[in-house]
Amino acid sequence: MSGLEDISSELVGFKDEKDLDGELDGHPEVDYAGDPFRYVFYRDRKEWADLEPVPQDDGPNPVVKIAYSEKFTDVYDYFRALLKNDERSDRAFALTAEAIELNAANYTVWHYRRVLLQALEKDLREEMNYITAIIEEQPKNYQVWHHRRMVVEWLNDPSEELEFIADILSQDAKNYHAWQHRQWVIQEYKQWDDELEFVETLLEEDVRNNSAWNQRHFVISHTTGYSSPAILDREVQYCLTQIRKAPHNESAWNYLKGILQDRGLSSHPGLLDQVLELKETHCSPYLLAFLVDSYEDALENSNQRETLSKALEICQLLAQEKDTIRQEYWLFVGRSLESKYGSSASGEPLADGPEPASAPASGQQEMS
């Protein structure tokens, strides 16, 4: 998710150029004598003759040098010239759009555009339309989302946001930028009312959408909270229903554990039995891990040998059969439980807090 993942596998489209020299009268893009849409470099436009282009200077031994086309270089040489003079003009504003089209990740261009938006008192509604289109084209770019947030803040108008973000999410339901912007809008402008419904729609479309589960927690924790038994039970039931539909779903189990773990997994009445029942027909590594954690919670309250042996049995099951990729880990967990609660351990359960590091385990063999 670093800035570079924006480009990782996706090739940036290579833009077609109409490279033609020559000065033209009137509109620079129009040549009445022939081809109506010849592109004219800024260096050849009369209205820009007052400005001295500023080239990039990487010195005698440039590193990671990007081979720009003539058009690209021309646009950015003029951008640098405007920047140096801190020019505040409509021609500068227009140029930023071209610079953005060539490289929407250039945060300096975006900042300069914002300076111009304010200095020239540009129509921010138009800017919203503009940024909407750009984000639709490049939804994984950091700068465009930041720019949108700034414009929304200036307008103090979030009214388009939830619908816009929903559209972006309809194309990629896990886009982190989109969810981040959505949470900002909701929290900043107190738009909580319809969000749980939105989350449920997404979960109906894909019950494994971890972003949607996260949003569920976000909404509830900031509205009703989880303290009321009615809410907590509703959520527990919701999880179990989703688990019955799609048992192999880490997100649902993480949510279930997440809302209960601080109260103690073994504290919710009847849950352990329900999970043990599910184990027969809807088993998964996540269910079994939940059981281990439930038994551990029970052991913290009351160290019973039977509880420990159940926990160890599940660890063995996970290690040998149900979650073998984590075999070493589950064996480690078993050893830790044994060490903490087993007959060789001291009579008093250990308090939560820093404890001596567990004994080095068999762990991993070095690669041959």
């Binding site: 982190y176 949470q183 385990a361």
Partner: protein, 364 residues
């Protein structure tokens, strides 16, 4: 030397092509085609991936270190004569602003010239990898510039003009302070509060409060705490155990960054290094992880991609190597899991800092 795994599947070759990766990074350091234009403002991070990658491959001898050092120093935003731009100092990602090339001060006044937190981090790291002594770094200016980026909630902007703020930049800040051996550049207490506030209900860590837990932000948080020396005091044993569980569940064969998402080579480092920092990387499945990383190797061009049969790029090439290094690949240097440089570069840093302390001591 390259490993031959002849007893494995016929169809999928998974031998490690060291020399190809050396050439891949060499090429990255030269000229890139225009389709990489979106990387302009972050070119210094590409330099870091290539240099650190070559370091992990023990192949730094293929580059001209002095030329590279000069170019990196040309990216430093130095204080102007009147010091009015101190809070904008640091390193640039590239020459895109258009200042004339200069690898020494004083700084030139320009209305839009300022450092970028990730470039200051990767600039300093790259200099260290090249064996530089940071003698031409204006440390005080970097730290003032860094401090100016921190927000009330403890997170950081990337640039003084403003930007998004999240866990990535806390990590950059922690690395900068760690390398400069000076924590005056950030309010660590506030940063720690932001980190704690970003812990998710599922025991991973998101980019910020309420946000979905993610392998990248989890690495940034844990590595930052480790660099600050505050990991064990910030998290209880129970919290650490829960985090270990969240991280170790990310392994599918390789690793993914979030539950129910596809795996991606770079998470073999982000999550792998976090697991190493939490002392449980040893309990992961090395074989499956290694096989996945190697399946994303580009056998023709070198480097690694996020997925098999996809285009490689410097980021995934670097983190693919780091992932293999964590696994103990014999031909690769060990990587410091918190600072994300080789142990060799790390030792160079330690020696440097020793020298600084001795000098400081002898002045009193």
């Amino acid at each position: 030397m390259a490993e031959e795994e002849s007893q494995l599947e016929e169809f999928e070759q998974i031998d490690f092509l060291r020399d190809r990766h050396v050439r891949f990074f060499q090429r990255s350091l030269q000229v890139l085609p225009e389709r990489y234009s979106s990387l302009e403002t972050t070119r210094l991070t590409i330099v870091f991936f290539a240099l650190s990658g070559l370091d992990v491959l023990d192949a730094l001898d293929v580059i001209d270190k002095n030329n590279m050092i000069e170019w990196i120093y040309s990216l430093q935003v130095l204080p102007t004569e009147d010091q009015s731009n101190l809070s904008r100092c640091g390193f640039r990602g590239s020459s895109h602003i258009g200042l004339p090339y200069s690898s020494k001060g004083p700084g030139i006044s320009h209305p839009y010239d300022s450092g970028h937190i990730a470039m200051t981090y990767t600039g300093l790291a790259s200099l260290l990898i090249l064996g530089d002594d940071l003698g031409r770094v204006d440390k005080r200016a970097c730290l003032v510039g860094l401090k100016a980026l921190q927000l009330d909630d403890g997170s950081f902007y990337a640039v003084p003009e403003g930007s998004e703020n999240d866990m990535r930049f806390i990590y950059c800040a922690a690395c900068i302070c760690y390398m400069l051996d000076d924590w005056s550049g950030m309010d660590t207490q506030k940063a720690i509060e932001y980190i704690r506030g970003s812990m998710s209900y599922d025991n991973g860590i998101g980019q910020g409060a309420g946000l979905e837990s993610h392998g990248g932000s989890t690495f940034c948080a844990i590595a930052s705490l480790r660099l600050m020396g505050r990991l064990e005091e910030t998290m209880s044993q129970r919290e650490l155990d829960r985090m270990r569980r969240w991280c170790i569940m990310r392994q599918q064969n390789g690793f993914h960054g979030r539950p129910n998402k596809p795996v991606d080579t770079c998470y073999s480092f982000w999550v792998g290094a976090t697991l190493e920092l939490l002392d449980v990387f040893q309990y992961t499945n090395y074989e499956k992880n290694k096989n996945y990383i190697l399946s994303t190797q580009d056998r023709l061009v070198g480097g690694f991609a996020k997925w098999p049969d996809s285009h490689p790029d410097p980021l995934h090439a670097y983190f693919g190597l780091c992932g293999l290094s964590l696994l103990g690949e014999p031909s690769l240097r060990k990587v410091h899991p918190a600072l994300n440089v080789t142990q060799r570069a790390f030792q160079h840093l330690q020696q440097l800092q020793q020298t600084w302390r001795e000098k400081a001591g002898s002045c009193t």
